[in-house]
């Protein structure tokens, strides 16, 4: 039996960042409607833009590595 082709590490990096980015972005969207005031600089809503950055970075790793794996 031959060993299956191993997924690239970049796939795992992409998957992790995509999932976490999506969760944090979702929190940011929630805070955009229900602002939180507990933290310093809460008005900047860091969850929104940081979550978006993580999501984009995650997809940039995830999609190419998935395409490469299935070639």
């Amino acid at each position: 039996m031959s060993t299956p082709k191993m997924l690239s590490i970049w796939f795992f990096v992409g998957l992790m960042l995509t999932i976490l980015g999506a969760l944090i972005l979702a929190m940011g969207i929630y805070y955009a409607f229900v602002p939180q005031t507990r933290t310093v600089l809460a008005h900047l809503n860091p969850s929104l833009w940081w979550g978006a950055i993580m999501l984009v970075a995650g997809l940039l790793f995830l999609v190419p590595s998935w395409i490469q794996h299935n070639k």
Binding site: I9, F12, I19, L20, L23, M27, R38, L41, M54
Partner: protein, 558 residues
């Protein structure tokens, strides 16, 4: 009451991370059948994979929390540990030492000592490295548990056992490949989880210029306050920084410590192995933008009336505890969700460091101790089995060390000093071994012993207040050296004694025949042809670029 209250979303993120790293271990198990797979990740990693893992293995509790806290004490001088205290050594490793390491196809650094010298040096280094690694791993674990208890109110025993079990689990399953895969995921988590702290801190201060301008000169400069120990917060001169840190401690760690070097051994070819520390050097240079900036912001906040920022007391000493600075900043800036990411990043740092220690320990134990002293005819499959068992034993010993550190807090000072007992003399031995064919096996062994004894004696002398002021000044060139300055000079003396002794003894003992030096010593090693590589992809060119960035950073923050 804990400082940070976690919500369901934060817990979900932390749980997801644990499931993810264990899942990687389970997934990789089927790809790790041979010893080469298990201990060297099949020698098929690209330079980027090995490079990021190289850096990630160096991260740990002491690194992230310790140096953010250290910045509150020493200011910008902490950057020296990331720049002059790392970059020249990393580039030197990639350009000049890696060809000897990689070409000899060894499994470990003690393995090189066996080929270049003899079994005595290999066993001496293997045992001292194994002990050092386990102790460091235990300390990391203890610090992590202490911080989590202080910040989050977690039961320290539970957090220690859970994280140790997770690390043990994925390394037992997938060996070095698992460690490397998770280290890279952890690398990204650390950056995404903690860089935002520095960004938000800088925004609150009104920009990086505002952060720096609010500092006293002793904390805000890199070199211009290094002429006199009384001018800087570290109490050290530029000579101490350059020789003690930049030369001995740094080269000793980055070029000989198997914990990091092992990642380069997993590369698919010589070029990738050489590129490993060179790629890592760029990210190492960038780390102060998280760690030092966060530490400076924390210091500024403690000085600002009305900032409502106060370090927590140390659970043992009751003094303000600098290591709590970073978690307190997370609590200050991160709302729910991001807090989970920040805590996950800290956990990732702890676990990456511990995984590095454990995977290096299992290789050295299996190949350099077990196979040499216990079962010389062990099959490959048997060695993989031993590696898995050793991982479990290593994890248990780490936990035992953590308990020991909790019972006897001062043991931490001893353990942290081990770096200069083991690595500083070893660097002299390696340097001579690789670049001077006359270095004899007997000289290497006794040089190492004398270097280690020198370092230990200096350390004990300070610890027991045995040295008079005059002797202390003779050793450290300072009337009131900080612990850091003592550590640097202790390493420098250990290196010097080892070097001088090894050279001296080499002249009166028999060197190895030249035929046995092929692939191990400069002049007897044919560097593998790298094929046609575009000029800008050559290790030498990229190393020059890294060196330029290094110089610019030092000049800018002079």
């Amino acid at each position: 009451m804990s400082v940070i209250q976690l919500s369901w979303i934060d817990w979900s993120i932390i749980a997801l991370y644990f499931v993810f790293v264990l899942g990687i271990g389970v997934y990789l198990k089927k790809f790790t059948g041979t010893g080469e797979d298990y201990f060297l990740a099949g020698r098929k990693n690209s330079a980027w994979v090995a490079g990021l893992a190289f850096l990630s293995a160096n991260l740990g509790a002491l690194e992230i929390l310790g140096w953010t806290g250290g910045t509150m004490k020493y200011g910008m001088f902490v950057s020296h540990f990331y720049w002059v205290g790392a970059i020249p050594a990393m580039l030197f490793l990639g350009l000049y030492m890696m060809p000897f390491y990689y070409s000899s196809k060894i499994h470990s650094v003690p393995g090189y000592l066996k080929l270049r010298f003899d079994e005595r040096s290999r066993l001496l280094n293997a045992f001292s490295f194994a002990i050092m690694t386990l102790l460091m791993s235990g300390i990391n674990l203890y610090l992590m548990a202490l911080v989590l208890r202080t910040i989050l109110g977690w039961d320290w025993q539970l957090s220690m056992w859970v994280s140790a079990a997770a690390v043990g689990g994925y390394i037992m399953l997938g060996g070095l490949m698992s460690a490397i895969f998770t280290e890279i995921v952890q690398f990204f988590l650390i950056w995404f989880g903690l860089f935002l702290v520095a960004i938000l801190g800088t925004i609150e201060m009104g920009g990086i210029d505002q952060v720096l301008s609010g500092l006293p000169p002793a904390m805000s400069k890199l070199w211009s306050t290094a002429a006199d120990p009384s001018l800087n917060a570290m109490g050290v001169t530029w000579i101490g920084i350059v020789i003690g840190l930049g030369w001995v401690l740094s080269f000793g760690y980055w070029t000989t410590d198997f914990l990091v070097v092992q990642r380069a051994f997993s590369s698919k070819d010589l070029r990738s192995a050489r590129m490993t520390p060179i790629i890592a050097s760029f990210f190492k240079m960038a780390l102060p933008f998280i760690i030092v900036v966060a530490g400076l912001v924390a210091w500024r906040l403690t000085q600002m009336a009305g900032a409502n920022f106060q370090l927590l007391p140390h659970p043992v000493t009751g003094e303000p505890w600098n290591d709590t600075a970073l978690p307190l900043l997370i609590a200050r800036y991160y709302p729910q969700g991001l807090v989970g990411l920040g805590i996950t990043a800290l956990l990732a740092g702890f676990m990456a460091g511990q995984a590095g220690n454990v995977s290096a320990f299992n290789t050295v134990w299996t190949y350099d101790i077990y196979r040499v002293l216990i079962k010389k005819d062990a099959t490959d499959a048997h060695l993989v089995w031993v590696g898995r068992v050793t991982t479990l034993v290593g994890i248990l010993l780490s936990v035992a060390t953590a308990y020991l550190a909790m019972q006897f807090n001062t043991i931490m000072d001893y353990i942290q000093a081990i770096f200069s007992w083991v690595n500083a003399p070893l660097f002299a031995t390696m340097l001579l071994g690789m670049f001077w064919k006359r270095t004899s096996p007997t000289a290497a062994f006794w040089g190492l012993i004398l270097g280690m004894v020198t370092s230990f004696t200096i350390f004990l002398g300070f610890k027991m207040d045995f040295w008079s002021t005059d002797v202390a000044k003779l050793i450290t060139f300072s009337a009131a050296p900080s612990d850091m300055a003592r550590n640097m000079w202790q390493a420098a003396w250990a290196w010097t004694v080892c070097l001088v002794a090894t050279v001296g003894i080499s002249f009166v003992t028999k060197p190895k025949p030249e035929a046995e030096l092929v692939g191990l010593v400069k002049g007897f090693t044919k560097i593998e042809d790298q094929g046609k590589i575009i000029w800008y992809k050559k290790p030498q060119v990229i190393a020059i670029f890294a060196a330029v960035v290094f110089v610019l950073l030092n000049v800018y923050f002079w």
